[in-house]
Amino acid sequence: MTTSVATAGGIGTSPVRPDGTLKVTGEFAFSSDLWADRMLWGATLRSPHPRARIVSVDLTEALRLPGVHAVLTAEDVPGAKHYGLEHRDQPVLAIGQVRYAGEPVAIVAADHPETARRAAARIGVEYEVLAPVVDSEAALDPACAPVHESGNLLRHVPIRKGPQDVVAPVVVTGEYEVGMQDQAFLGPESGLAIPAEDGGVDLFIATQWLHGDLAQVADCLGLPPEKVRLSLAGVGGAFGGREDVSMQVHACMLALRTGRPVKMVYSREESFFGHVHRHPARLRYEHGADETGRLLYVRARIVLDGGAYASTSMAVVANATTLGIGPYRVPSVTVDGYAVYTNNPPCGAMRGFGAVQACFAYESQMDRLAAALGLDPVELRARNALEPGDTMPTGQVVTGPAPVAELLRRVRDLPLPAPGTGDPREFPGGVANTTRGEGVRRGVGYGVGIKNVGFSEGFDDYSTARVRLELVGGEPAAVVHTAAAEVGQGLVTVMAQIVRTELGVRRVTVATADTTIGSAGSSSASRQTYVTGGAVKAACEAVRREIERRTGRDADLATDLVTVLGDGPIEETVEWRHKPTFPIDPRTGQGDAHVQYAFAAHRATVDVDVELGLVRVVEIATAQDVGRALHPQSVRGQIAGGTAQGLGLAVMEEIQVVDGRIRNPSFTDYLIPTILDVPPMLIDVLELGDPEAPYGLRGVGEPPTISSTPAIVAAIRAATGLPLKRVPVRPEHLTGT
């Protein structure tokens, strides 16, 4: 066996990120920063109607505008006319009808972005407006107009575990609603497509999954995959919103048609129409328990509004359902989850991916059950907390650490924040100076959640990594290459750390992610450090085997590397998979669907001005088991950032959709948390180690987003005594006005 050496900047330390210097100096090239000689600008014409038949399209006036180089419609799509991550139901450009307000109808290339926008506005589209389907429950009525020919039910996931006729002495029921949240990544959808001499195209793009894009883009362009080359441009945040294709095909079509590079950059307003959102949800729950608080059964019905196209709705509803009762041990479970088509904006992946909506409902229920029993909310949760060896509602046995009760106890036992100092900036309303403390009530609430890590239900979830080790200037240096998308989470740092730890080299370069190497899978589902990290580790192990082959004995990396590499570089490419998962039974939902479970718990403290309905979150404490913190500083960054997004859903963020139209597509009207809205955070990181995962790590990104929302709402309930069954909580919910 090869001996490792502790190398500076290896795993468990927190080196500075390799792209950091360029990011602080403004030189890092995000996808909207790209430029090419003779470059044109693309623009998109979108439907103003949520449901309409397209009677005619007249391009004459648009084409007449000086500076316009191309105006394209569905007829110009060279290959497959539809795309989609799981189900290819979404037209590249509308074909004869539109199914949501904001659906792309035509695209333009011009020599200036304003010219392109004006040309798009000159395209004459005659619509026959139809009544849209905008209610997710009504959409399930067989009499409802179908949004697609296949009907409005995208997927029904039933879960039946244990006896189905259980009765209980203590029963609480509740109906809950979750609004439509936006990922609100700051870097808008953008990219640069450059036509190539071989008839293909090079696309520089901000995405979460280069090969997911490649498969769809190549098909829609009617090109073989080798003629469509994708490289990752700088990604200004993602959070699920870049898992689907947005402007990728459009930019390539315009570049191929004009023979010139084409850049497309969405405005913030267009971004709200340009990507999928978090599913709005309606959830009805019934919890039955005995007098000691032990859960006997949970019954639930979850309806997710998938909007006009499928995106990842089938997987989202499976998550919401299979994780739908939370991290609790329950002998009898009956859950039905539905994802439905409507003419609302399409919904798909956002951080937490179905687990968020369910967690708000089941944690609200746990608080109501605690109140019904006269029990402390943490104590009730601890009595029912999942432990290793317990079974999930799918029948899957939980392996490895599952410290649910421990996480709750940890956040409970942290000291509570001190009372306010009287600085008016610390009251709800802050610098608006709306109170001196009269009418302000404090409340504390708890939440705990569960998330699956990695892709589920039998998906072939793998990543590919290449590690090359060679002498540069007489010193060993490594290059690591994958197609994994760095979206801000710090994967580039972690990959270099793994190489340093495994190979004992200090100099590690992370090559730009592109499609010249095999797929890394998506930067989603909290999976990339696990799966691509696992692939990098495996590639390093292959390099070490080659070192041993060359030396013919156990190698000492500290002393042998220079000699070994004198015989030439070593390069190994490895495809790596985690343990397989399996489909769930379509009638009972039983099956080992998930790879790994991750847990976090939150305690929120809030001040509420009960007269004005204003909330200030005073402090949030998080405890999370991350298995092993490969980069402790980034782990804390993920926890703080994820928690803040849960705060947004609790009290601020909702895309308001009225009659199928988004009413607030701007950062003026869709509010994400500012530094004044996000409180100081206490973060307690546990490293319990999952024996099945590389280095024992557990996916980090999503759990903190899941339970912060119910913890904050529980704290507001504690401050106000109000039931609060919908998020985001708005001032009028608190004042009754």
């Binding site: 100096t25 990544f185 700051l186 200004g236 945040g237």
Partner: protein, 152 residues
């Protein structure tokens, strides 16, 4: 139109500027300075913050013509060539950079804060940076970076 202005101490000229263009567009697309970012282009996010004659502004809200003959300083001009300003170094050390799209605007805003108030309290920091949205970090490490930069 032709636009003459000073950028990071250098006299610069942009030709064929359309009157409707913003200072942000001219910096990014005509002068090769993409540091100021285009997250909202309506003055809500702070990602395009630059100094205009010493005052921090949202470059997206300044018409290009309004900058004629004036001095602009962007994130690219805060430190000397090849060097990092202590605020930039603090952002790296504190882990305040994730996706980095808000970072340039925040660094200019922090630069302005520390010029005015070298030892800001927590509420001072939060009030001063309330116009700069960050979607990744939850602001924890940004507050830490400001404190670290202030100590230096």
């Amino acid at each position: 139109m032709r636009l003459n202005l000073s950028v990071n101490g250098e006299e610069r000229t942009a030709d064929d500027v359309w009157e409707g263009e913003s200072l942000l567009y001219v910096l990014r697309e005509r002068l090769g300075l993409p540091g100021a970012k285009n997250a909202c282009e309506q003055g809500e996010c702070g990602s395009c913050t630059v100094y205009l004659d010493g005052t921090p502004v949202c470059a997206c809200l300044v018409a290009a013509g309004q900058a004629a003959g004036r001095a602009v300083r962007t994130v690219e001009g805060l430190a000397g060539p090849g060097a990092l300003h202590p605020i930039q170094q603090a952002f790296l050390t504190a882990g305040a950079v994730q996706c980095g799209f808000c970072t340039p605007g925040l660094i200019v805003a922090v630069h302005d804060l520390l010029e005015r108030n070298p030892e800001p309290s927590d509420p001072d920091i939060r009030e001063a940076l309330a116009g700069n949205l960050c979607r990744c970090t939850g602001y924890e490490h940004i507050v830490a970076a400001v404190k670290l930069a202030a100590r230096r």
